[in-house]
């Protein structure tokens, strides 16, 4: 344990002396954990990779791998894989206001083997819009995701606030509020998850 802490300290110290990185010009890996959904505790882990904006086309790729039922990433119950290709109005330096829009795929992999479960694996198209703002060491984001299903749709808002703790590291809190809708049955459901995590830029 002491060795791990020592290595972590050396790595953190090394990166602390580097030039400040940002989400537009650098690669990033993020890991976050959700523990509170709707009214109860439930562990969820996300690992997200984001590419820098490819400045010629202002395009950026992100891929999120989510595991359910664990804080240690390897899950026996369920995963989501969500790749998104987005266009950004800003390509070099985050400003106080910029926007993004993209398309992606939301893939649900459900592994539960229980007669009482009717969860199935599938993939749906996803349409994403985002408002972003960088003020000093704070970065605010408000992505909106729309998913389209064969019998309805869902709308998610994912407000996130991150704080640059070192040149290559941020910590953040993200709220995820999703409204699922089946218009034919006049049925809607609200879901709420909260995550805390850290991003590493390279």
């Amino acid at each position: 344990m002491k060795t791990l802490l020592l290595i972590a300290s050396i790595v953190l110290s090394y990166f602390s002396f580097c030039q400040e990185k940002n989400s537009l010009t650098d690669h990033s890996i993020s890991a976050d954990f959700g523990s509170y959904r709707n009214k109860y505790l439930f562990p969820i882990t996300n690992i997200t990779y984001q590419s820098p904006v490819f400045s010629k086309f202002n395009l950026k790729f992100s891929g999120r791998l989510r595991s359910y039922g664990t804080l240690y990433f390897l899950s026996n119950s369920a995963y989501d894989i969500t790749p998104i290709l987005s266009y950004y109005t800003q390509s070099e330096k985050p400003t106080s206001l910029y926007f993004s829009g993209g398309i992606g795929l939301d893939t649900r992999i459900r592994l539960v083997n229980d007669e009482r479960s009717f969860a199935v694996s599938s993939a749906e198209p996803l349409f994403a819009l985002g408002i972003h703002s960088k003020v000093k060491k704070f970065h605010f984001q408000l992505p909106i995701w729309m998913r389209f299903y064969s019998n309805g749709n869902s709308l998610s808002i994912l407000p996130e606030i991150s704080f640059q703790v070192a040149d290559r590291f941020t910590i953040y809190v993200r709220d995820e509020l999703t409204r699922l809708s089946i218009p034919q049955l006049n049925s809607t459901e609200l879901r709420h998850d909260i995550y805390v995590g850290t991003s590493f830029f390279f």
Binding site: K39, Y40, N76, A78, S117, A119, S122, Y149, E189
Partner: protein, 267 residues
């Protein structure tokens, strides 16, 4: 033209979508069930018992109707699936926004001597499978009492509810405890509308008499009765949670039914 293009775009996205909205649909069909033990076995039930030969015996005395009933025995140390229990379960009969009737008869053995709580039936919540949940998250979470249960406690019967899935101390009794004599059959019927909001309700009868309190117009007790839209599942038998029983206790069951009307399930 732009509206047409947008509609076309949405249509294409919908066609590309292969799955349904991961949210339970209301008013789905549920499984009707007859468990009168007349076939002489426990087919159709899901067993949560340490030893079927010891905990769940088919007997021909006492019986409520027909030739056979179930002798359900819980012995000290009968621990399975994180609790002291000897239970039989019926799946897919308490779905989101469905209206269901449940009926069964029970007979407290005259030799029953424990004075602690014992759940003789319960409607247990389920993980929200569509949201990726399963029974055993890591780290393990502590379970909470079921949303609705019938509890035998020191010669009385209590209807208990729980509306807080994260707390063990949020249960409450609906109505008043009812005296239950040992050595006689008692018929129970529950009529439940399963919902995660205040439109959920239940009413219950014992030996043909309503045992839920009047709300002024009916005896339906309105309260959310599922923790999430996966709904619940039905179990009966004996359940002592984390508290071991001090004695071997027996309760007989007969005429366990799930259906769409009082007459379909009443013993």
């Amino acid at each position: 033209m732009k509206i047409v293009n947008f509609s076309l775009f949405i249509s294409v996205l919908t066609i590309l979508s292969c799955g349904k909205v991961p949210s339970e649909e209301p008013n789905q069909a549920f499984e009707h069930f007859i468990g009168d033990f007349e076939v002489g076995n426990l087919n159709g039930f899901h067993l949560l018992v340490p030893d079927t030969l010891v905990n769940t015996q088919i007997v021909n005395y006492p019986v409520r109707k027909g030739l056979y009933a179930l002798k359900n025995t819980l012995n000290p140390g009968d621990y399975i699936n994180n609790g002291y229990r000897a239970e039989l379960a019926i799946y897919n009969c308490a779905k989101y926004k469905t209206e269901v009737y449940y009926g069964f008869s029970f007979f407290i053995d005259t030799a029953y001597i424990d004075q602690e709580y014992n759940l003789i039936c319960q409607w247990q919540d389920l993980p929200n499978y569509l949201m990726g949940e399963d029974w055993e998250p890591n780290p393990v979470l502590h379970g909470s009492p079921p949303p609705l249960a019938l509890v035998y406690l020191d010669g009385k019967l209590e209807i208990k509810m729980n509306e807080n899935p994260t707390n063990n101390n949020s249960t409450f009794i609906v109505g008043s405890p009812i005296d239950v004599a040992k050595g006689t059959w008692n018929d129970i019927v529950f009529h439940v509308y399963w919902s995660d909001d205040d439109s959920g309700y239940f009413e219950a009868w014992m030996n043909g008499n309503l045992i839920t309190p009047s709300n002024g117009t009916t005896n339906r007790f309105y309260n959310a009765n599922i923790f999430n839209r996966s709904g619940n599942y039905f179990k009966f038998g004996q359940y002592r949670g984390k508290e071991n029983t001090a004695h071997s206790n027996t309760i007989y069951f007969d005429e366990v039914k799930v259906g769409s009307s009082y007459n379909e399930v009443a013993p």
